[in-house]
């Protein structure tokens, strides 16, 4: 009876509770977060949605039907391309053209499957075996994650070139292993480049899941008589599946929105098949939109691929949040199950990993060769070492301007991210306000929004008369929009890092401060922030690195004004061939600069701040 009486007052209680939760600090933090997320994520994307449905003054599915029914976008029959076809002594591996949309999906799915297979294999070896040189492989297997936008694909295209490429030289001219030369290009070329670039994403995610499995779970299964593949299939695989899915979905999204590989390949081989993917088509239409408008059909395409990525990401996130097996059991022995195989097997493992490393790090190694020699126009091998391309980083006026622009955008974006990201994390981790989970979702979902889609939406939204002539108008000055695009796209890195720090702080540390007479604001400044400062800096470093190397919005919005171009736009221009011959080496030296920044930031984060460098995942 008393309990009924208590319940009847619970609405009043909720109102009072809400009023207590909404102290000035929380209100400020929540408002700032929503302002940025709604203003620069929700509203622009809404305008993309509206534009996609707009037709002859009304709303209709016209553009989607148009896309899904025209063979240019979706064609079940091949519209061209070659696969396993030998002509005049050359084996062509290009893939078949099934229309822009199907090509994109096929490439992304194939890349995801290949990356998952390689990722699982490498993770099982690294997580379960002990062998000579393992510590070295731990580091060098991550090299493909180093940013070499466009140039990576250019290098692969050059190495696989049927006439004077290194691969054909080795396999045909030198060793006479193959009867014909091989041409890897077109869609297959994209798949190769993206697989080599993204497999570490799956690998790191699976490995971390694998390391979190309590060894006694596998030992118990062995004890009951399950060994070998049966053990893997029934216990190990299901337990690391959430990690695999998390890595795979990121790979799928990255592949679908990737512009680096198509542009790089076109620069290397000029094969038009590499252009027939959605991301490139949206990018290309942007180049035409310089003065005018973006067609509703392109908006619809941008919207379509965004729906695919956001939907699959949200589903996976929901799945993984319900399937978190890690650390179920506590206590007991917790040393990973490491076996030391026989010398012969060890040799096999080392050989295999070395092969993978050479393939995977080929773009990075090639970039270095391009930047420091005359390889760009010397044929199969470089003939001369030169420092002139590195010098160009400080002497070429256009290059210097691009570097300074990128630095400025990234620094300002990171500053905004620090305020917004910390606010969101704090509210989500420590306060109990309504719409808290919406805030959390809005802060993580940008991971899955394709950069080109965001760029189109910014263009559509901010070039409306409402913003005409203002600093937000992309046709007046894209600088501020680039900063905000970086902020939104890299915000998840920041929030995740800060959130991890906040979770380590026991509630009582804040309560003790409140109890001693400090307000929430004072408590935040004197207790909370000092305790998470390393997480904030580590998140900032990571966001900075990924902002400097940001591609999609940089080469679309960045193209709108010559004196505002960022580094990646400059590289894309060089690789695409707009700039002078041989200039691709300057692009490579810019990539070396990006890699240096990235390595430095990772090292500081790992060894100075003692933060585990957050890798890409859900």
């Amino acid at each position: 009876m008393t309990e009924n009486w208590i319940k009847s007052t619970s609405i009043k209680d909720k109102v009072r509770k809400l009023r207590r939760e909404l102290d000035p600090l929380t209100i400020t933090q929540t408002l700032i977060s929503y302002f940025v997320l709604i203003g620069f994520l929700v509203l622009p994307l809404s305008s993309l949605v509206i534009q996609g449905f707009k037709f002859e003054g009304g709303l209709s599915l016209n553009w989607f039907i148009d896309i899904l029914t025209s063979p240019e976008y979706v064609s079940l029959q091949s519209r061209g391309g070659r696969m396993f076809e030998v002509r005049r002594g050359v084996m062509y591996l290009w893939g078949y053209d099934h229309g822009i949309l199907l090509n994109s999906l096929m490439v992304a799915l194939t890349v995801t499957v290949f990356c998952s297979m390689i990722g699982i294999g490498v993770a099982m070896i690294m997580g379960r075996y002990e062998f000579k040189g393992k510590a070295v492989f731990k580091v060098i297997l991550l090299i493909p994650l180093l940013a070499t936008p466009f140039v990576n694909a250019y290098v692969v295209g050059k190495v696989f070139n049927p006439q004077f490429g290194l691969l054909n030289f080795l396999l045909v001219d030198l060793l006479h292993i193959l009867p014909w030369r091989v041409s890897v290009d077109g869609l297959v070329g994209l798949i190769v480049v993206q697989t080599l670039t993204y497999y570490p994403i799956v690998y790191t995610n699976v490995l971390s899941s694998l390391n979190n499995i309590d060894p006694s779970l596998e030992e118990m299964a062995e004890n009951l008589g399950s060994t070998g593949f049966r053990l893997f299939r029934t216990v190990t695989f299901p337990l690391f599946l959430p990690g695999l899915v998390a890595g795979a979905i990121i790979t799928f999204i990255f592949s679908l929105e990737d512009l680096g590989a198509p542009i790089g390949f076109i620069g290397a081989t000029a094969n038009p098949l590499s252009k027939n993917v959605a991301s490139y088509q949206i990018y290309a239409s942007f180049r035409e939109a310089l003065t005018g408008d973006i067609s509703p059909k392109v908006s619809a395409l941008a919207l379509l691929i965004m729906v695919v990525t956001v939907l699959s990401y949200t589903l996976v996130k929901y799945y993984t949040s319900r399937r978190s097996y890690t650390m179920i059991s506590k206590g007991g022995r917790w040393s990973p199950r490491l076996r030391k195989p026989r010398a012969g097997i060890q040799l096999l493992i080392v050989g295999g990993l070395l092969f993978l490393f050479i393939l995977g790090a080929m773009p990075q190694l090639g970039t270095f060769v391009l930047a420091s020699t005359n390889w760009a126009n010397s044929g199969t091998f470089p003939t001369k070492i030169t420092g002139e391309y590195f010098m160009a980083l400080t002497t070429n006026r256009d290059v210097v301007r691009a570097i300074l622009n990128s630095l400025m955008y990234s620094v300002v974006a990171v500053a905004i991210m620090m305020v917004v990201g910390s606010s969101i994390s704090y509210v989500v981790a420590k306060r109990d306000i309504p719409t808290k989970s919406l805030l959390d979702l809005l802060a993580t979902v940008p991971v899955s929004v394709p950069g080109v889609s965001l760029a189109v939406s910014y263009f559509l939204f901010f070039s409306t008369p409402l913003f005409r002539g203002s600093l937000l108008d992309p046709l007046t000055d894209p600088a501020l929009l680039l900063i905000l695009a970086y902020t939104i796209r890299r915000l998840p890195f920041m929030t995740r890092s800060v959130y991890a720090g906040l979770q380590q702080i026991d509630k009582s540390l804040e309560e003790a401060s409140l109890n001693l007479g400090a307000t929430r604001t004072t408590t935040l400044g004197k207790i909370v922030i000092p305790l998470i400062v390393t997480n904030v800096i580590s998140g900032a470093l990571l966001s900075f690195v990924y902002s400097m190397a940001e591609v999609s919005t940089s080469i679309t919005l960045g193209a709108l004004r010559e004196d505002r171009v960022p580094i990646t736009f400059f590289i894309s221009q060089i690789v695409y061939g707009t700039a002078a011959v041989g200039a691709v080496s300057i692009g490579a030296s810019l990539c070396i600069l990006l890699m240096t920044v990235q390595i430095t930031a990772m090292a500081v984060s790992n060894y100075v701040l003692k933060q585990k460098a957050s890798f890409l995942g859900v």
Partner: protein, 353 residues
């Protein structure tokens, strides 16, 4: 210094009732303990006094003034957390000075007061250490110093000794008690350890399932428990259930072939009721005492030598009875033993449904 009054204090977490219409008054300068098993709502009740939790219903009054809606930082309470909640990035001095700095006390005064309070808790010379460089007992003292330095109106201690080893726990509870006596500060102490509660408290409130079951001095609660939960929660004992045959000149109860006579501490037992009899093992006499007593005789089933006494389990007509036998009395397993319990130590309680 302040008198605390809780009126109908109720807290719901979803459907879980953490505190259920708690009514009590803690007097100025009193050492008051909330005692109960884990999950009984004692910590929630304390956190509502501190302003870290807000009641669903009811009010908290300090010296008659309603503070129910006041946030923690406006209440001037000093809370010592179970895990101490020392800030790991601040040195001992900075931890203790925090409350004074928040109150914008001049620097020289802060230093003087911090050093003084560190002296009081015997931590002089430790001010430049970080919390992680201290032992558990020292951390506990820092936590205490950190709240004492602001001269709080109320001292709140949430299981402050639970992280210390047994010996240190006894030492610290004596120190806390002495400190509280000296400062005459109203203190609320939360613990699940009944021995600890009895040794430090002026009064104890026993809480179970959110409800306060009894409030009283340690002796009252131990000797005159108001219900079976309290009787079994406090100390050891034997619980025998039976039927009340008469209430003339005390309660007469029959348990199978055993008949017992005892005191009705609640005054609510009548003839024909089901009732329970609680007897503490230390209250038995081996020789017949002068006072009127019940007699029990049975076979020694099991013995355990504790030191000051030997614990003996008797089988009396298939009822197990726990008896403390003083040193020097022979009670071999399998032998027979006759014991006496004065009526006044035989507690009769109504059986709850």
């Amino acid at each position: 210094m302040v008198e605390i009054e809780l009126r109908n204090l109720t807290k719901l977490f979803g459907d879980v009732v953490a505190a259920d219409h708690v009514n009590l008054t803690i007097e100025d300068g009193e050492f008051f303990t909330l005692l109960g098993p884990s999950g009984c709502g004692k910590t929630t009740t304390m956190r509502m006094i501190a302003g870290l939790e807000f009641p669903t219903e009811g009010r908290v009054l300090f010296d008659g003034q309603d503070v129910t809606g006041l946030p923690s930082f406006e209440r001037n309470t000093g809370m010592v957390f179970q895990n101490y909640a020392l800030w790991p990035h601040l040195k001992v001095f900075e931890n203790v000075a925090y409350g004074l700095n928040v109150r914008k006390i001049p620097k020289d005064q802060v230093k003087e007061r911090v050093l003084d309070v560190l002296d009081q808790v015997e931590l002089e010379g430790m001010e430049d250490r970080f919390p992680t460089q201290l032992s558990g007992g020292q951390q506990q003292r820092v936590a205490l110093a950190r709240v004492l330095v602001i001269n709080p109106a109320v001292l709140l201690l949430d299981e402050p000794l639970s992280n210390l080893d047994a010996k240190l726990r006894v030492q610290m509870r004596e120190e806390i008690k002495a400190l509280q006596r000296r400062l005459k500060i109203t203190t609320v102490y939360v613990t699940h350890d009944q021995e600890e509660a009895m040794s430090v408290s002026d009064r104890i409130a026993i809480q179970n399932h959110g409800k306060v079951r009894q409030i009283g001095s340690p002796t009252e609660i131990y000797n005159v428990p108001q219900d079976i939960f309290i009787a079994t929660f406090m100390g050891r004992g034997t619980l025998l259930e039976g039927e009340v045959t008469s209430t003339e000149g005390g309660v007469h109860m029959s348990i199978g072939n055993i008949t017992l006579q005892g005191l009705d501490s609640t005054g609510s037992i009548s003839q024909g009721d089901k009732a329970a009899c609680v007897i503490r093992p230390e209250n038995y006499c081996i020789d017949e005492p002068i006072e009127p007593s019940n007699v029990l005789e049975g076979e020694v089933e099991w013995t355990s030598f504790i030191g000051p006494y030997t614990e003996v389990r008797l089988d009396v007509d298939r009822h197990k009875v726990l008896v403390d036998v003083p040193p020097g009395v022979e009670a071999p397993v399998g032998g027979r033993l006759k014991v006496y319990i004065p009526y006044k130590n035989t507690i009769m309680l109504p059986l709850e449904e």
